[in-house]
């Protein structure tokens, strides 16, 4: 080995060590809060108020206790209802719109796409007052329906993301289907949808978790009746409403996180590919 080559080799090795050391340190910082929440969830209520990190006793009963302290099952049911219905409605209404924007040639196509991006970027608070008044007129405030029903009319973010994927499917596929005598709608259902499965899975997961995690929407519409609350809403008020201890609050926190984390481990690729689609390309 020449001295220069050896120097380069040493430098490469040092860089390798530095990168991995930094990665491990970062990984500990990213996982730390999750581990900390899990450990606190298992402590006794007295220990949760101290700075000791390791549970003296493992209080698995905490997870049973939170179900007695708060109507968690009702909140989970409401959250599921909101997430599942909103996702289903979004898919039915948004896929044809995205397909039209990606494939059809018509006047105002570009304008329509720009308007989709504009509505996607609009802070929901801007139009909150008049929309609230619409739902109040139908006596639907105090329920979660004002968050679910609009999904029948398409969701801008999902349309945008689906459109970004659909434009990448080569035209030849749909042309071939048309030669075989498929109409536009049959082509969409038989040819395009199966090819767009990864993108559809991504928007469905994003929508589901957006609803599962949503706090602002339920805060605005669910009202004061605890029976109409979602998990996020209940969690934010958990400590104060029920005057419960930190250990139980963290147990409930863990419960709210668990489904998201479990699904992520099974569907990681779908998430990552979906996020990539949101970038400019």
């Amino acid at each position: 080995m020449t001295p220069t080559a050896r120097r380069t080799a040493t430098r490469t090795a040092l860089l390798w060590v530095a990168r991995h050391a930094l990665s491990i340190a970062l990984a500990l910082m990213f996982l730390g809060p999750l581990v900390f929440i899990a450990l606190t969830a298992l402590m006794s209520d007295r220990q949760a108020l101290t700075s000791d990190l390791w549970p003296h006793t493992w209080n698995w009963g905490n997870f049973a206790e939170i179900f007695e302290k708060a109507p968690l099952l009702t909140w989970i049911r409401n959250t599921l209802l909101y997430s599942v219905l909103a996702t289903a409605f979004m898919l039915v209404s948004s896929i044809p719109v995205a397909y039209a924007l990606a494939r059809f040639r018509f006047r105002g196509r570009r304008l329509a796409f720009l308007l989709v991006i504009t509505t996607m970027m609009l802070p929901p608070q801007v139009v909150a007052v008049p929309i609230y008044l619409i739902w109040a007129r139908f006596h639907l405030t105090g329920t979660l329906w004002p968050l679910i029903l609009p999904m029948l009319l398409g969701d801008a973010f999902s349309i945008f993301l689906l459109r970004q994927f659909l434009v990448t499917i080569p035209r030849e596929y749909s042309d071939a289907a048309k030669v075989d005598g498929c109409g536009e709608f049959r082509t969409l259902v038989r040819v395009i949808l199966p090819m767009a499965r990864p993108a559809i899975a991504a928007v469905a997961l994003f929508q589901f978790f957006y609803c599962w995690n949503d706090y602002y929407g339920p805060l605005l519409y669910a009202g004061t009746d605890l029976d109409n609350w979602t998990l996020s809403l209940g969690l934010a008020a958990f400590r104060s409403v029920h005057r419960v201890q930190w250990n139980l609050t963290m147990a409930a926190t863990l419960l709210a996180m668990a489904p998201v984390i479990i699904v992520f481990f099974f569907a990681q690729k779908v998430f990552i590919e979906g996020v990539k689609l949101t970038g400019v390309k």
Partner: protein
Amino acid sequence: MRGNLRALLYLSPWLAGFVIFFVYPLVSTAYFSFQRYDLFTLEPVGLLNWEYFFKDQAAWTAIRNTLWLVVVMVPLRVLFGLGVAQLVTRLKAGAGVYRTIFYLPALVPLVAGTLGFVFLLNPGTGPVDAILSAVGLPAPDWFGDPAWSKWGLTLLGLWSIGDVMVIFMAALLDVPKQLYEAAAIDGADGWRQFTSITLPVIRPVLMFALVTGVIQTLQYFTQAEVAARVASGATDSAGSVFTPGYPDQSTLTFPQWLFQQGFRDYAMGYACVLALVLFAVAMAFTLVLLRQFRFAEEES
């Protein structure tokens, strides 16, 4: 012509939604901004709501706080996201595992993550301050001290940079390898390679991350609301009313003040003034983003 009709059919759900949930509310918001409305009585008041806006101390505090987050938190998140992406794309072993770990917090429900951070940064219960004072750094009362509460929210924001990281990772992997090899032969070191190759290539993605970051931060609501609620120990029992911003209005953001005015104090006319201000600012940044999309469209 048949093509236009067919497009109209496919687009009709979204068009209806656009009119009902965007055009009509926007016009209506402008109308309400000249009214006094509390859900029961509607009374035209001319420019009164607008005049009040310029005298409303809390609104300007909320604007300052939101600007703070835009100027400090957004760039820090983008830089950190880029840095982590840069690191992960350079790893030869274990990149997948690290990517999973770094992305995970982005999925944690906002309420849950915020609760965790308030407890984690609480000097009496969490380990963070103990570690800081052990290495001789100041150990602040994060969410209880007006000077530090926004930094607490910033830490929470840095923890969940998964989306930003993934977008940057995709962009970094798109940079042609030959460019780096050529630069290395010319003797350019790591930093030179980054500034003269990486940065120019990923510039559109960087812009995208910054602009979407700003727009998201203009809507910043949940984390500030939950942190203030939990840190203040506010009880929802009768007689005690939650006011956002604890401690000392330091975490009061613009959307929170809008929500407070419109849906807790039922000053809906005035809330519409705040909504239009928010709309103007968000629209300005959206236009920047739209221009970028137009360029991207033309290139493809």
